[in-house]
Point group: C2
Amino acid sequence: MHVITSRDNAHYKELKQLATSAQARRKAGQSILDGVHLCKTWLQELGMPLLCVVGESALQNAEVRDVVQQCEQSDVRIINVPDALYAPLSQVENGIDLLFLVKTPAPTMPSQLALSAVLLDQVQDPGNLGSIMRSAAAAGVKQIFCASGTTQAWSPKVLRAGMGAHFVLDIFENVDLHALITSARIDVVATSSHTEQSLYDLDLSHPVAWLFGHEGQGVDPALLAAASHRIAIPHLGSMESLNVAASAAVCFFEQVRQLTQR
Amino acid sequence: MHVITSRDNAHYKELKQLATSAQARRKAGQSILDGVHLCKTWLQELGMPLLCVVGESALQNAEVRDVVQQCEQSDVRIINVPDALYAPLSQVENGIDLLFLVKTPAPTMPSQLALSAVLLDQVQDPGNLGSIMRSAAAAGVKQIFCASGTTQAWSPKVLRAGMGAHFVLDIFENVDLHALITSARIDVVATSSHTEQSLYDLDLSHPVAWLFGHEGQGVDPALLAAASHRIAIPHLGSMESLNVAASAAVCFFEQVRQLTQR
């Protein structure tokens, strides 16, 4: 275990740069996983990190010690920092000071949409994106395609909300959704507040791609027009719309219901 | 329209106190609605505010002018402040500078659970609480009961995520959920990861009360034991659980599906 105690240490400065700059992470092709749950899920799903950073006090935590030990056994570099030096690396308040630096997975882009997938255009809120990914992973959807303009999928906030979903999904960013939709081999279903077609009338026994858009403006009209189906979730109350992550959960699990209840 | 230009103005100082202190709002029985959407929805559902505050630049916005005009016609006091004085009143960045000060609705607590309802214990995240309320309002559920330990329902962050749901729901805070559950005239359904019973096997054609708990720990064991049904949402993927607001949306809309698809 390497101990770093100075803010001027070159390795520490590099880590801080990665922890605080989305651009630096993208350029390096690396991501920061902050907290015990994400680190443990990474170990379980994808193996070893590039680097493990642990705050001094966190070493008293049995779960943390177990993660650190696993890393040591695989010769992963472990850096131990005083709690005051951990804080600038983290966006989590009152969390347990453990993080992994990992190589951001870069799956091969499929040539066509053929498996159940989620297409996201201009989703702004990191909590919403993370929740959508978590619901998708729970519903057995494997692929997430994000257009540019959607919040960065591997940011610390999205990772936190995703609770490890990132590690079981294939995530593609800066995707040309129009090209993907027009060449799709499966139906693309978009939610819209301007349609009479109900989600519950769709046959969801085969793979579909779900298209969701901006929290305020909804799906871009050109993409909406290119989709195979425009559907609404029937409402019984006076509220006009659902949060996009709530809509996504309702859609994904209507498919789970149809697949499991026959 | 009253113009306030000094941070030392007594009315301004009082407003700032209300805008920044949950305790001050609770003590006054008042809430702050920040942004055009919430203000318009309040006008539509519940009428006039106690006070309307508008930033100087926002008066160029036609929607804002329309709201201000409606308030003027009903002799609501309107305060116009420079943009620099609006910012400390608001948690919204880059929003449109319009807010209402309103009397927080205080509905009469029913003696027993008899209508479809949501019971929330220890839900921590304001975005989750707002999303649950928004989904409930869209699904035709009218009553929300929050135990102490749940994030404050009328806080600016929850109001923003609720998108106006607060104004069509009856919201009760600091509720003794155990007493409410044990005296309920309807079934209380709790989500749990330790049950084989599927949501999709429940008959939801009658009113039910949905019970949700802490984002990490789930529903408190004593409350879980008191519920009529403990159900799980069937999963197809490897992720073990959904975000609590996503779970709630799936449950509420399974009921909507059963009610509308017969």
